[in-house]
Symmetry: C2
Subunit: 168 residues, 2 copies
Amino acid sequence: MLYDITVPQFTKMLQNLNKIIDKSVAHAEAKKFDFDILLNSRLAPDQFNFIRQVQIACDTAKLGVARLCGKEAPVWEDQEKTLSEVKARIEKTIDYLKGFTAKDFDGAESRTISQPRWEGKYLTGTEFAIQHALPNLYFHITTAYSILRHNGVDVGKKDYLGEMPFKK
Amino acid sequence: MLYDITVPQFTKMLQNLNKIIDKSVAHAEAKKFDFDILLNSRLAPDQFNFIRQVQIACDTAKLGVARLCGKEAPVWEDQEKTLSEVKARIEKTIDYLKGFTAKDFDGAESRTISQPRWEGKYLTGTEFAIQHALPNLYFHITTAYSILRHNGVDVGKKDYLGEMPFKK
């Protein structure tokens, strides 16, 4: 189950984010302003800008899944400055998630998960996934979305949620 | 597992939201402005205001859990206008969630979930929880938080995430 609530859903949310960015680029072109302005926008002067929100969303997905599976995630420096670099970071993260299967999550529920800043304290895999990785991922994707929305980009919650696997 | 990713975590996030509101009220008092201004603030002119974000977060939790358990949720009119009414709505939702146990979720994974606006289409309980209820809940709580953050309230991601059940 920890696989189901992370890998496929994190992948979907990052794909949604990518489409939201594409919509924003089209919006910037139509309004004749430079999309880079949005890359560097933020909701408060002491909050991270759009690029940083995307970087953290990507790292939350990458590190969250790696930690749950007891693997060492690759380190990616936060050097993105342009639209194509930001989109490449998202794509790279989606590709990384593709490397994980449900089998990799065997034992993840009770795995001991820690982070350098937790100074030796830990959570179980289940606690980490539900109370840390998921709320963090949604936080940064929603904040990235809100920065664009606040700046007039015509995106809505359907873009954030993405397609639903509806049946009839 | 659908119980674990919804009832306790939705409860925790609503409690965090309540504390964030308390911090914001203290901030408004210190800055000598009327907190009601924040209740009616929004990030974009065509986006819901703070009160509505809280109402939807509450309904997402209430309806999400009720639908997963095959129960009929009570209808609460969206009539909150004051701080105490908004906080009462959150408390009422937390109380409602207390009525559910893991046992109520027996069979929830494969339950057929629909909403009036889906015009007969449906999701399985697992799909609904992971792809709809959770991202929606986090979306509206993050947006409520961002409206306050955007207006200078001194809250941070720790307030949003709440306490972690750290072990040593």
